[in-house]
């Protein structure tokens, strides 16, 4: 029961992450396809966020290899890169479980910071920009255009000049995704993007993610608890429990996998039924 990955944008091989005596991730291997929305699910404490932190360089894995591949066959060993080089060079962007926006800066400014690296080059590492050279002005204009594009896609245009910290929760989640997209990533990693969203916002999020996959040639890897999102939009699901992979397949396969339901949901029977019901609902919507 494996979902076939033809064109992996990310390959994780034998990933181990140890914190003192705790093995948070245990010999984990999986692939993420360039054209898929891949979901990483599992009960609380299964090590999902740790996997994310390893991929995006915030933790250095104890063992294992994480490879990012671009279409032009360039590949990057992420576990060897500095964290800031992963979005900059390997083009893997991420969002955070507890939203990390630049709260005192406006929506537009947040999106401009997302384009820091190309703008830095355009400003000749500040030396050209400070004298107002035209090359920088043009680059800045383009950057504003890209920011406007993503504000439109996320419905934030009207709030462009408001402080990010002033936005309602759902808009903050969207802004964080828009900001990550401004780095023009090949792979977007989302840590619980639907957490705290109401059903309508969650629906909008689904649309946004599908749009990103289809129109922007960006693979999406997400951690999510909301079955509505997971079953509704993902093409490929990986299930973690206690740092181990216990299942890997299409939503259909996962839904019918008894070991997933047992391990993922614990032992209480009534709970299993409850969630089976929830999964069903998620699939039908």
């Amino acid at each position: 029961m494996t979902h076939t990955v033809n064109d992996p944008v990310l390959t994780v091989e034998h990933l181990n992450m140890r914190f003192g005596g705790l093995l948070a991730v245990d010999d984990l291997s999986f692939d993420v396809d360039r054209r898929d929305i891949t979901a990483l699910i599992g009960p609380n404490g299964a090590g999902k966020t740790t996997v994310f932190n390893c991929i995006t360089g915030f933790y250095k894995p104890t063992e294992g290899r994480i490879t990012a591949r671009h279409e032009d066959v360039a590949s990057f060993l992420l576990e060897r890169m500095d964290d800031f080089k992963i979005p900059k060079i390997a083009k893997v962007a991420r969002t955070f479980q507890n939203i990390r926006l630049f709260g005192g800066m406006t929506v537009l400014e947040n999106l401009m910071v997302g384009q820091h690296n190309p703008l830095m080059i355009a400003s000749n590492y500040t030396f050209g920009g400070i004298f107002g050279l035209s090359g920088y002005k043009r680059a800045e204009k383009e950057a504003v255009e890209l920011a406007k594009y993503w504000m439109e896609q996320t419905g934030l245009t009207a709030r462009a000049d408001d402080a990010a910290g002033d936005l309602p929760y759902g808009d903050q989640r969207k802004l964080e995704i828009a900001r990550a997209m401004c780095t023009k990533p090949k792979l977007l990693c989302l840590d619980e993007p639907a957490a705290g969203l109401n059903p309508r916002e969650s629906e909008e999020l689904n649309k946004l993610l599908l749009f990103i996959r289809k129109e922007r040639d960006t693979g999406v890897l997400l951690i999510e608890h909301d079955m509505n999102v997971v079953m509704g939009i993902s093409d490929h699901i990986i299930v973690l429990d206690y740092g181990k992979k216990i299942a890997d397949g299409t939503p259909e396969e996962i839904r019918n996998d008894p070991s997933v339901i047992a391990a993922y949901l614990g032992v209480a029977d009534e709970e299993v039924e409850e969630v089976e019901h929830e999964i069903e609902e998620g699939a039908s919507s």
Binding site: F19, T49, N53, F58, Y59, F96
Partner: protein, 332 residues
């Protein structure tokens, strides 16, 4: 030992302990004794930093100055009692206990008032604000003492003399353990034990540890957070007062600027030991005291503060959790 008179550079010079000629084993041993004595004083001040930082996460910049104020109070009480070296040993010790208690009480009032006036109104506010008020209080205390007690160095004749000669070398160099040093080390050990017991066993200590973990939760569980924080300042100030008296007795000279340098070094000690850890503060104090003494003894006395400050930078960069602190995992 008083050579130049340049603001606080003057006081800095006393910090080196008694450097005498000599070399090799005996000389080393003598420096070790001096270093432990100095380290005890730093350790006592460091506890105040470590407790306050542990509980409200701020550097109480004025803590060094509380130490300074307390040494002035001790000097006033000693003068008022008319203590001299000719007072009998038993009477001297009794009188010193009185001096210690008085200066601990008054220093505690200073510590409590500082917290109440300058830090409590800013609790939960902009993080830089209490740091600025702490610097302000530090300036206020220094200048207050300068105005009320005078800018001149205050000398005190030694009250406790003599000691034990541990070793005598062929060339006449002796390794001395003075009664004063014995007193300082003993008092430090006793007070450290008492305060460790307070933290470990009493309800106040429990409340303090609870506030360190999670202040909001502690207050939900019925702990009076404001009172606990106040008591932390009081305890820190009381220990600083012990250090103030020891410093006065050991070096015999104080002025209004001794708090700044001693404060920075004691903070270094607190960080070195692992901030929030009481035994760590004591250990850090000893290490800083030893480094400083050995640096002055073997290298140069002028640059011994550079040694202590560099130590601070090195520790923070390579061992930010300190010797006995818990490592912090970056939360993403």
């Amino acid at each position: 030992m008083i050579t130049v008179d340049l603001g606080y550079e003057r006081t800095v010079l006393y910090f080196g302990g008694f450097v005498s000629g000599g070399s090799l084993m005996e000389y080393f041993l003598q420096q070790l004794i001096n270093g432990i004595t100095l380290g005890s004083i730093y350790g006592l001040i460091a506890i105040g930093y470590t407790m306050v930082y542990g509980i409200i996460g701020m550097i109480n910049f004025a803590h060094g100055d509380i130490f300074m104020v307390s040494s002035f109070i001790a000097l006033i009480v000693i003068t008022a009692l008319g203590l001299t070296v000719s007072t009998g040993l038993g009477l001297t010790i009794l009188a010193l206990i009185l001096v210690l208690v008085t200066s601990m009480v008054i220093a505690s009032v200073f510590g409590w008032t500082t917290e109440r006036l300058a830090y409590r109104p800013l609790r939960g506010s902009f993080r830089l604000a209490p740091l600025i008020t702490a610097i302000g209080i530090s300036i206020v205390l220094q200048n207050y003492i300068q105005i009320t007690q005078g800018a001149r160095v205050k000398p005190l004749q030694p009250l406790i003399e003599n000691g034990y000669t541990l070793m005598t070398r062929a060339d006449g160099f002796t390794v001395q353990l003075s009664n004063m040093q014995i007193l300082i080390i003993t008092v430090t050990i006793i007070l450290m034990t008492i305060f460790s017991l307070i933290i470990a066993k009493t309800s106040l200590g429990r409340a303090q540890r609870a506030c360190e973990q999670d202040r909001k939760m502690a207050s939900l569980l019925g702990i009076n957070v404001d009172r606990t924080i106040s008591m932390t300042f009081v305890m820190g100030a009381a220990l600083a007062a012990v250090a103030g008296l020891m410093f006065l007795l050991y070096y015999g000279v104080i002025d209004f600027f001794i708090g700044f340098v001693a404060g920075v070094k004691a903070f270094t000690a607190a960080v070195l030991g692992g901030i929030g850890s009481l035994p760590g503060a004591m250990l850090g104090g000893l290490v800083i005291g030893l480094i400083e003494t050995f640096w002055s003894a073997y290298f140069s006395i002028e640059y011994k503060d550079v040694a202590a400050f560099s130590m601070l930078a090195i520790v923070l960069i390579f061992l930010p959790q300190g010797l006995l602190g818990k490592p912090e995992v970056e939360k993403v």
